[in-house]
Symmetry: C2
Subunit: 251 residues, 2 copies
DNA sequence: CGGCACTTTGACTAGAATCAAGGTGCGTGG
DNA sequence: CCACGCACCTTGATTCTAGTCAAAGTGCCG
């Protein structure tokens, strides 16, 4: 578990943020953009495998993922790990910690990740002067809640096969709307251990379950990652209706 | 599943809200109180077993629980049900639906419940004019997220016995700070079916698991509910450190 | 070439689901 | 007042899903 690497000062100006171009995200007014731009205090680049935020810490920062994949997790004392959700470009991380003091989960990078850094202390100003952004923040928290609801349903009530299909379909659809698969066929950068720790299964059983999905031609496990061959098939197996997300805000 | 009962017009004025007296909640300024008071458009009383909000609905309302217990859940097409969280006095419900349109979970009353009714349309005014309350709303959403994180950890990684102990300790502690057990020894008003649907277990296995907790003298199942005999014992079995919540806001 | 991280497979075990009954307490209507 | 239905809890037997153990295969890097 390597540490964060250098703070990268050649920052991407918010005005030309590549994420803003995706029509998956809601547009900002000029004023809001100006605020966000000065709310952002820097950029951070971390390696794959690095810990971005750690349980128990009182971080002075709040981040938005600019590029790369990561995951949020909690651990029990004896080492059992539960992955709670994944983070992708446009996702805000550390809000829980910023509002309530202590982080109660950790976040780790799955691939090299670039983060926009925000000062927690400036959050008040956001609430005071930018009601639209405050609304967005609440919206973002409610979205996370929704995702967790669905995950809970999945782990609590779906069978191993359904769960696995759900997870992969979920990750695929989230990445899809971010255009993460457009240039070159990119795989979902997770190991079977990650899948196991997300689904609440052992790694052996996870392997056998994924094999079934592969045999049905729905996925292919290759070069340390998962390729989706048939998203509709995955959705059918999982019994999930898919992500139905409107344009969303991001900070 | 009976429907909502009459709208009760003899409303509890926010100024003399009994919940506000609990020192578990953060105090309001007079101005905030005045806003909340006019944000509240009525009161609603529902019977135990009634559905308060239903998945798929576009509710024009937002509620705060004034008294009683309920739970949030999702169902799969074939009837499998997962309980996501419980609601108790002071909890805000329907925020997800208010912000994002459609409800993606249902809420059902466990006991007779009284609700303060708020108009979703007035939410904008809250964000525009009461940054402190907007902050509180985000805080509340982040709190729910935390609870879901812990639940996910529990269902994904804890054993049946640990899970059951965790759930009961969790409900007990939440109710405790609300003074719900002060007068007369009140039980947690859930059936074993609810426990099963929360833990992701079958009802038979849940019964056997709860029996073990009872044999150890940690709980007693009686008159359609659960009595906690030894909260520290439950916490020890679950491996959970307990609720560590600062004073929280409520709307 | 050896080590390491990750995947794969088979054999065995354990934990949880399912099946099947029966028990308890309560409210309702004959 | 009793009988019946109903909702909920309890228990034992059986089945099956998922966990554990053990070992070996693959690809990559130093």
């Amino acid at each position: 578990m390597n540490e964060m690497t250098a703070r990268n000062e050649k920052r991407t100006p918010c005005e030309s943020c590549p994420l803003r171009k995706l029509d998956h995200f809601r547009a900002f007014t000029g004023e809001e953009l100006a605020f966000v731009s000065q709310f952002k205090t820097g950029e951070l680049a971390v390696d794959g495998g690095a810990t971005i935020l750690v349980e128990g810490a009182h971080s002075a920062h709040l981040f938005t993922v600019l590029s790369g994949w990561g995951f949020r997790y909690k651990m029990l004392d004896d080492g059992r790990r539960q992955i709670l959700n994944y983070v992708m470009p446009g996702d805000l991380i550390g809000l829980q910690g910023s509002l309530m003091g202590e982080m109660q989960h950790s976040i780790e990078a799955l691939s090299p990740v670039t983060l926009c850094v925000f000062e927690r202390g400036k959050l008040n100003r956001l609430f005071e002067n930018y009601p639209e952004l405050a609304y967005d923040l609440t919206w973002i928290a409610a979205r996370e809640e929704r995702i967790l609801d669905e995950n809970l349903l999945s782990i609590g009530r779906r069978s191993a096969l359904e769960r696995a299909a759900y997870l992969i379909a979920f990750l695929y659809q989230r990445a899809e709307v971010l255009d993460l698969f457009s240039n070159s066929r990119v795989a979902i950068p997770i190991s079977q251990q990650h899948v196991a720790d997300t689904l609440g299964l052992s790694i052996v059983h996870t392997n056998k379950t994924l094999k079934k999905l592969a045999e049905r031609g729905l996925i292919r496990w290759a070069e340390k990652g998962c390729n989706v061959r048939d998203i509709d098939g995955l959705l059918a197996v999982s019994g999930w209706e898919g992500l139905r997300e409107p344009k969303r805000p991001f900070i």
